[in-house]
């Protein structure tokens, strides 16, 4: 799958002129891209080193159009790769050669914000941040906040069960999806779920499509829960001379027990890159930083913040301070969200992973990541959502160096095996896509693998939807 892999003009030839003509007749000329030059920008998502050439890109605007596209693709046996903003980090939105890329970015209407029922109904191309802006007018917010929330789409979030900085208190995308409209591989339209908080009628079919990375259907409408905006928030920053102390602080806060809304971790390499970008005065000589946040009733927030700061000091924090203003707190969160991209200042290729462990095993996992990097002679930057055990070890490398790339692959295998041995998983929030499908058997047993195949075959018998992703 490296850039000199299969693809290019040979695969482009796979798409039939008749298919393009049919798609143009469905959507109009301006919503079908098929010139070689125009397809280059759709060859990748946010994942390093993965690149292929699609046969065409289409921009449907309604569920009926998505249905018509899939009906045709199903009849012709054409592969279809759904895509939102293309910020996925496991290669799930990377095209397969010659496929139809079905881009939902123009299905971007917020159909309803129902403040009485704390719900919103949206199309899949709505940006996560745009939903939050619309909800804020009603005193509400949509809690899952992936790092790419300013551009990531709700459809993409649903398809990857995305998390974010607030996961440990507020949960992840799956916890907010009440209902879905999904176009199945053969073009049939499934409407599943209701606006009710309680609903025991039949299988929870919606859960099949959440985190399915577009392999089982194309989500075209989403009914989501919203939460009231908390009355108070306190944001704090703790600096450490050792990563273990930061990890121990996190474990102690959870065990206390306090459930903050955010416990984010940056190691020295990452925080130096972030500071080079953001210029907000982060302590670049610290070995580790914790960005901590608690929200809720003002009195509770004050009490929890005091507890968290005290625990941080007890566990060796050399400096603990609270953000002086909401603007300063937002700067810190924004800086944290830039971590992955900022690491690109250090190397031409940055490969980010998503290993996740139970929170009482964090210190062990963080130490193992560093040892593994040393053992394979690799440069690593680690950051992540420590509060929910979700780490993002990121190797700084150069894809032209084949020997080093092989060592990166081996190092990741060691890290994933270790995470699973500690009771963790290979991906907390990015999905499996292409980059982790080799490792899926570590966490899905033989029975589980059989069920994956059975479900895929019954919903997509011709295998046209995002083929080759997750497994197979």
């Amino acid at each position: 799958m490296l850039r000199d892999g299969p693809g290019g003009s040979e695969s482009h030839a796979m798409i039939r002129p008749g298919t393009i003509q049919h798609l143009i007749s469905l959507l109009g000329r301006d919503r079908v891209l098929d010139a070689d030059e125009q397809l280059i920008a759709y060859g990748f998502d946010g994942t390093a080193t993965l690149r292929e050439t699609p046969g065409c890109v289409v921009f449907p605007e309604t569920t009926a159009e998505v249905s018509a596209i899939l009906r045709h693709a199903h009849a012709e046996g054409m592969p279809v790769v759904p895509r939102g903003s293309g910020t996925s980090l496991s290669g799930s939105a990377v095209p397969v050669p010659g496929c139809i890329v079905l881009c939902t970015a123009r299905m971007e209407r917020i159909l309803e914000v129902d403040a009485d029922n704390l719900q919103a109904r949206v199309e899949p191309g709505v940006r996560t941040a745009a939903l939050n802006e619309a909800a804020r007018v009603h005193g509400l917010f949509y809690p899952p906040d992936p790092g790419s929330m300013n551009i990531s789409t709700i459809g993409g979030n649903v398809s990857h069960n995305s998390g974010g900085l607030r996961g440990l208190k507020y949960g992840v995308t799956r916890d907010y999806v009440l209902g879905l409209h999904v176009v199945l591989a053969d073009g049939r339209i499934l409407k599943t779920g209701t606006a009710c908080v309680k609903d025991s009628a039949g299988y929870r079919l919606k859960d099949l499509f959440i985190g399915a990375e577009g392999t089982l259907g194309v989500v075209t409408e989403i009914l989501l829960k919203l939460s009231p905006i908390p009355r108070a928030v306190k944001t704090m920053l703790a600096s450490y001379t050792s990563i273990r102390d930061a990890a121990a602080t996190v474990s102690a806060i959870i065990a206390h027990p306090v459930i903050p809304c955010t416990l984010e971790f940056l190691d020295r390499t990452t925080l130096q890159c972030v500071e080079a970008f953001a210029g907000i005065g982060l302590p670049v000589d610290a070995e580790a930083l914790l960005l901590m946040e608690t929200d809720g009733h003002p009195a509770v927030v004050e009490e929890e913040a005091d507890v968290m700061m005290a625990i941080a000091r007890e566990h060796g924090a050399t400096d603990v301070k609270a953000a002086g203003s909401p603007a300063e707190a937002e700067q810190l969160r924004t800086a944290r969200r830039s971590a992955f991209s900022a690491l690109a200042r250090r190397a031409p290729t940055v490969i980010l992973e998503d290993a996740t462990v139970p929170r009482n095993r964090l210190a062990e996992m963080v130490a193992f990541i560093q040892e593994t990097a040393d053992r394979y002679r690799l440069q690593v930057g680690t950051f992540g959502h420590m509060g929910d055990g979700n780490l993002h070890p990121t190797f700084l490398t150069d894809e032209r160096d084949r020997d080093e790339m092989a060592r990166v692959h081996d190092a990741f295998r060691d890290i994933f095996e270790k995470a699973v041995s500690l009771g963790g998983t290979i991906t907390g929030e990015h999905g499996v896509g292409l980059s982790k499908k080799d490792f899926l058997p570590l966490v899905v047993d033989d029975t589980g693998s059989d069920l994956h195949r059975v479900i895929k075959a019954s919903l997509d018998p011709r295998g046209i939807l995002n083929p080759g992703k997750i497994f197979g």
Binding site: L33, E37, Y42, F44, S85, I151, F277, S341, A342
Partner: protein
Amino acid sequence: MNQPQAIRLKRLDYRILETCIHCGMCLPTCPTYMATKNENASPRGRIAMMKAVASGELSPGGHFADEMYHCLGCLACQTACPADVPYGFMLEEARADVEASRVLATPARSFTRRMLLSHVFPSRVLLRGLGTMLWLARRTGLQSLALRTGLVRLFSRRLDALAPLAPPITRPFTAMGYRTPGNPNGPNVALLAGCVQDIAFADVNRDSVTVLEKLGCRVSIPRGQQCCGSLHAHNGELETARRLARINLDAIDPLAFDAIITNAAGCGSHLRHYARLLRDDPDYRERAEAWDKRVQDLLAFASTFPRLPESRAPRGARQRLTYQDACHLVHGQKIHAAPRTLLKALKEYEWIELPDSTRCCGSAGIYNVTRPEQARALGNRKIGDIRTTGADVIAVANPGCMVQLRALSREHNLPVRVVHPVTLLAESWQ
């Protein structure tokens, strides 16, 4: 070097092209991506095409060329980019490849570009000649006739759409060779007069002299200076840009001044990178490095003074003042706080932030001439934002933006004074 077929992008260092990890953090800040939701119209999509050209996978064709010029060059993506990708620099190289490939060449486009970029902007005589013609026409009430016969015709056939954009011409022009009378001991600064600034906004240059003198500077406007070449560099004419840079380096010895001051954002963003432009020119590179260190935007320069002149008291009710960030000030030069600090200190005005003030107004150099529909859509959004502030005055530090906002506020019947920040300082400082 002079082979027309040599692809410039192929000569760029791999590390520059590979800085982009296509994470997509730029997308929400890109006006053309947000308007189309098409990756071809996004920074990372354009970079992917540039990489394909650099690797030989793609030769610059029609879609490539179209997207390189669809880009506003607003550089909002550079501010958003955590990886520090030098997009603006890459875009200049890519546009030069588009011009060398001649895929966009039509007789009309070639004529227009040659007239503007090779003859009019680089020639103070021609610019002033055109300016004088338009100024006379205006004085005699014939401005609209002059617009139909003069400058505008050179730009495009879409006269009706463009005529309102043509700037009013001010006289007299900037006094070349001016030196501050007397001999105070303050910083010794050279003021760059610009090209469009000089004929359309000579008052801004006069106000710049006033402001610098009130700050205690010795001010010179050296003779022999020319258009800075930013329009050329931004539009694929790097050779002409280099020629103009050498003329300016010959006219002004950077070592003779404490600072070289520009008051136009688009010029400043380019003027501070003469060394990069002349990196292959051993005769000029060193001088260009000294030049780059001394070039400063007037507002950023003024904000470094520990003590600013007192501003005059309001007469009656204070007017509401807002500020649009010129792209090449905030994104091109990362100057965000300085103009706000200066303007907020003016007692005559009540300050109000403009929502989305860092989004392009659609002027974008000559974009509102080459892509009038897209430029107008962005301009209309900007006018809507300005309306929500209820501002009486909007300050913006670039001549192109002033032209755009004046034309569109007039068209939308929005009674707002569009003014360069330096003019407000000159009026208000005592």
